[in-house]
Amino acid sequence: MAWIGYGVLKGLGVTLKTFLETYPWGRAVLRGLSIPVADGLFTIQYPDTKQQHAERFRYFPFLVYDETPDNLRCVACKICEQECPPQCIHIVGPAKDEQGRPLKAHGRTFPVEFDIDMSICMSCRICVDVCPFDAIEMDNQYELSASDRYEHMVFNQEKLLKPAEYFQQIKPTEAATVDQRLAAKKAKAAPAAPPPQAPKPPEGS
């Protein structure tokens, strides 16, 4: 009779071992019988303990500003709006004056409105990939549920703006690469400024 019930008994043994593994005294018993044990319960109790996420974890984008919120890197080129697959970005801009000429702040144009609809966003990160100015990056906050779809789920420009130090804090390696790239661009742009006036050599001295 043993061989007909044998597979069932083996299965029951595996479950019993898992059961004992979840208790410290059970692990002691199993080690005493020299059976290899795993670490105990694999489940963590959210929200008391939260899982540590990888650095690259992405959920919803945010706009980056340096120093003050009006020094945002975005110039309203609308490339991310065009490339976003589910079309969840809505940009109104760049800001123009009454004659229709673009206004500039800190030497750049800026958007009037920048809305991203969280209920549509796919977290695909294509907006970050295509932005030529490193103005939009992915945030890793995911506890963003709300009870109202239009007021709380559509993030306007104010809600989206976050400082560059925040970006460096949540994604150090990526921020380091971005900062390097931006510094290199600035260094290339600096010699384009008019060189200081060299003193003219006196004629025929």
Partner: protein, 383 residues
């Protein structure tokens, strides 16, 4: 339609038409089976799909080639990486993009990890349908969690990875990925042994799955079945060996074949395939080197500025051995940044067409088991 009335000399019986689904805990999604029953036996079965159609192919015609990638993640949500890989292969064929060596190694590692993820999840779900109240499923998911942590480390997202791109991968692997992957691969055979001890010789599992849903070789080949279902019927056809795409010819792995072609074979072939995948992973993790970039320059340009990518006019069909079968992408380009026609050959859809032949003569309870072993994901069936 009137129920068929069969009269035997002593007893008159009627057949009963029953709808299994679309709201059903075990049909792996919104899927309906219109079954005609004679007592407990199935006389006729009509699978009705389409409840999850989301216009994927039409949406793709309005997006750039890169814009289609997040949608391929959502085709077969267990295997996001391999779906990305299929589309990448098709685009590379269309535009003639080469992939550097490190990019190829990373792709192979991700594809085989996806195979492990998929096969553990499918086996767990099959046993869940059989009534083992979730225990094998949760053991499989525990291993799957560790692999999903690896995916998160590399791509930023556990399931909808959007990582493999034409020309390589989107970004190089972070530090610590290779060590964690090696630790996982070293531990995986022990998990497989425990899983097998729980299930493979279990008499109840054997009684439920052996001789159930036998798929004859000829029917499998004629109906274009691919994947583990085909190999369980004894046909030696694995696209990794036949096409030799990417760098698979460098890995000497074997293809397990079944003998009978019933549900038990399909389940066990998947376990054997997982062992072969572990071998491939060990070799790839050993051989990967820093000598080349992980994406070709054309690929970088494609990622940064999708609208500048105008492939030459023509068509290409790129196919891979996805964990569920042959996943193929057919692209027709007319020179613009958007594809003119974007068609997906989904393995689950094609494998489902033989469901009636598999189920006739068996009982209602077997239908669910047979469907579980066919391994469908409705998002792929209906796109």
């Amino acid at each position: 339609m009137e129920p068929k009335v069969s009269t035997s000399p002593t007893v008159e019986t009627q057949t009963l038409e029953v709808n299994l689904g679309p709201q059903h805990p075990s049909t792996h999604g919104v899927f309906r089976m219109l079954a005609t029953l004679d007592g407990e036996n199935i006389v006729k079965l009509k699978p009705v799909m389409g409840y999850m159609h989301r216009n994927h192919e039409k949406i793709g015609e309005g997006l750039t080639y890169i814009g289609c990638f997040p949608y391929t993640d959502r085709l077969d949500y267990f295997c996001a990486m391999t779906s990305n890989l299929g589309l990448s292969l098709a685009i590379e064929k269309l535009a003639g993009i080469q992939v550097p060596e490190r990019g190829e190694y990373i792709r192979v590692i991700m594809a085989e990890l996806t195979r492990l993820v998929n096969h553990t999840a499918v086996t767990g779900f099959l046993l869940n349908d059989m009534g083992a109240f979730g225990t094998p499923l949760l053991y499989a998911f525990r291993e799957r969690e560790k692999i999903l942590d690896l995916f998160e480390l590399a791509s930023g997202s556990r399931m909808m990875c959007n990582y493999v791109r034409p020309g390589g991968v989107r970004e190089d692997l972070p530090d610590g990925f290779l060590e964690q992957a090696r630790a996982l691969v070293d531990n995986f055979p022990r998990f497989l042994d425990e899983f097998e001890r729980l299930l493979t010789e279990n008499e109840i599992v054997k009684q439920r799955t052996q001789r159930v849903g036998i798929l004859p070789r000829d029917l499998a080949v004629n109906a274009s079945i691919t994947g583990p279902m085909l190999r369980a019927s004894g046909v030696n056809y694995d696209i990794r060996k036949v096409d030799g795409y990417s760098i698979y010819p460098r890995f000497p792995f074997k293809v397990p074949l079944g003998t009978v072609g019933d549900t038990y074979d399909r389940y066990y072939i998947r376990i054997l395939e997982m062992r072969e995948s572990v071998k491939i992973l060990r070799q790839a993790l050993r051989e990967i080197s820093d000598s080349s970039p992980s994406i070709s320059p054309k690929g970088v340009a494609l990622v940064k500025a999708p609208r500048t990518f105008r492939p030459p006019k023509g068509e290409a069909y790129g196919r891979i051995e996805a964990p569920k079968g042959e996943l193929g992408f057919y692209l027709v380009s007319d020179g613009t940044p958007q594809p003119y026609r974007y068609h997906i050959r989904a393995p689950s859809f094609v494998n489902l067409t033989v469901l009636e032949d598999l189920c006739i003569g068996h009982k209602v309870a077997d239908t669910i088991i047979i469907l579980g072993a066919v391994d469908i994901v409705l998002c792929e069936v209906d796109r």
